[in-house]
Symmetry: C2
Subunit: 233 residues, 2 copies
DNA sequence: AATATACGAGACTTGATAGTTTCGGAACTA
DNA sequence: TAGTTCCGAAACTATCAAGTCTCGTATATT
């Protein structure tokens, strides 16, 4: 999408290149150290989580990555382009959508989703998102990208797990399904961004046992299911 | 609390004042035009909605309010103090803590709390709140102020209403009481800040009927109540 | 060896903006 | 009337940070 991707900053298409054909140009001189890319992106995320988008400076990022600013600007054209790529980088490997837990009960699945690093990293991601506020307000496209990177994977995972539990007959199909898939994600974000408290394993379990599962058990059923219930009762 | 309130910027306690006694000092000169306060605060909200917190400049605010910057700085000590007051100004009268509804049922009370102007609704408020993201993540003091102005009033109102319903015997005392008082507030903020959708009356009712009340009905009871239930079942 | 590019470090330039001061004029007090 | 404070407008100062450039050095091609 808006992706302002890596860019050997227009080094190509200059007639003097030995290999003029559109293929890979053979350039003399030291090669770029590809591993610095990830270092810089991770440094960017660290700074973003610590001071937010508007507090982030290129000097901080360079210092954190132990890189020179020239090295950063050789790879990204601007601060915004760097931040956008960092967000994209963050989204990788969050929730493994192809290997969701399957313990037999919804409660077991939801709790299995809470791995030690997802508590810590989840909070980290939430802080990163919070720090983006101003940018989000300006660029709806980026807002979607960030939301998709840090929020929707969790919502979708909960969606799958809840739907599966309903299919098993563990719960009835609720009327406000999509609202329920956002309970944990919403309240965890609120805890970090507004209350400014830690998201612990215990807190997440209190959301599951104290809010989501009870709500699911007693929520008004969707129309079809509700008609059945009305007929029976 | 942290409130950086209006401040005749330390004009007081200077020996030369005619009325030295601690009472209200009679000062010569033109009076401050109190109506400019609201104009400036509303201009601040307009700018905040348009460009977000980090994009807001004092020149923009002054221009929007057709005021001089000196007039702004005569009333607020800093940009942050102005923004905080503007947020407080916006959320004024959202919840009237001294006249909470009392309809006889929790559902009735919660829905009565949703008055047209008390709902965070419409593109305007969404944009204002969206622009605050960076503010929240950066400065704990500012975040507390915003939290106190825009969030806690709701949480406290829900706390009172739910406690009253429990006292009436409408629901049992739940184990995770304080978590439940934050359900609606958390999910409404998430909708505004992350999903970037409107918080409509229908959405709030879906939170009440689809999440909060069902959760309250089926939540695990607090220890004392749970023991009773165990004895009965 | 000669040349070209990458690297970290950091100086430098330039633009933006928070906050201050000045100005001419209006409104209030004594 | 004289003195004081407020007003909007705008010039001014000081700070901060994005982006560029230089330096000494390391690593690549020819």
């Amino acid at each position: 999408m808006t992706s302002a991707r890596h860019h050997p900053v227009q080094a190509a298409h200059e007639g003097r290149a030995p290999e003029d054909s559109a293929g890979q140009e053979v350039r003399p001189g030291r090669k770029r150290d590809a591993s610095r890319d990830a270092d810089i992106l991770e440094a960017t995320l660290d700074v973003l989580a610590r001071v937010g988008y508007s507090g982030l400076t290129m000097d901080m990022v360079a210092a954190q990555a132990k890189a020179g600013k020239a090295t950063v600007y050789r790879r990204w054209a601007s601060r915004d382009a760097l931040v956008i790529d960092a967000i994209a980088h963050m989204s990788r490997g969050m929730v493994d959508r192809d290997h969701l837990p399957d313990t037999g009960t919804l409660r077991g699945d939801l709790i299995a989703l809470i791995r030690p690093q997802s508590v810590v990293e989840g909070e980290y991601r939430i802080k990163v998102m919070g720090g983006l506020g101003a940018l989000l307000a300006q660029d709806p496209g980026l807002a979607d990208a960030v939301n998709g990177a840090a929020n929707e994977p969790w919502v979708e995972a909960h969606e799958v797990l809840i739907r599966r539990a309903i299919a098993r007959g563990e719960y009835a199909e609720p009327e406000y399904f999509s609202t329920l898939t956002r309970v944990v994600s919403s309240m965890a974000m609120h805890r970090v961004l507004i209350q400014r408290q830690e998201v612990t394993r215990e807190f997440l379990i209190s959301l599951i046992d104290g809010v989501l599962l009870p709500a699911l058990r007693c929520a008004p059923a969707a129309r079809a299911a509700r008609d059945d219930a009305a007929a029976a009762g």
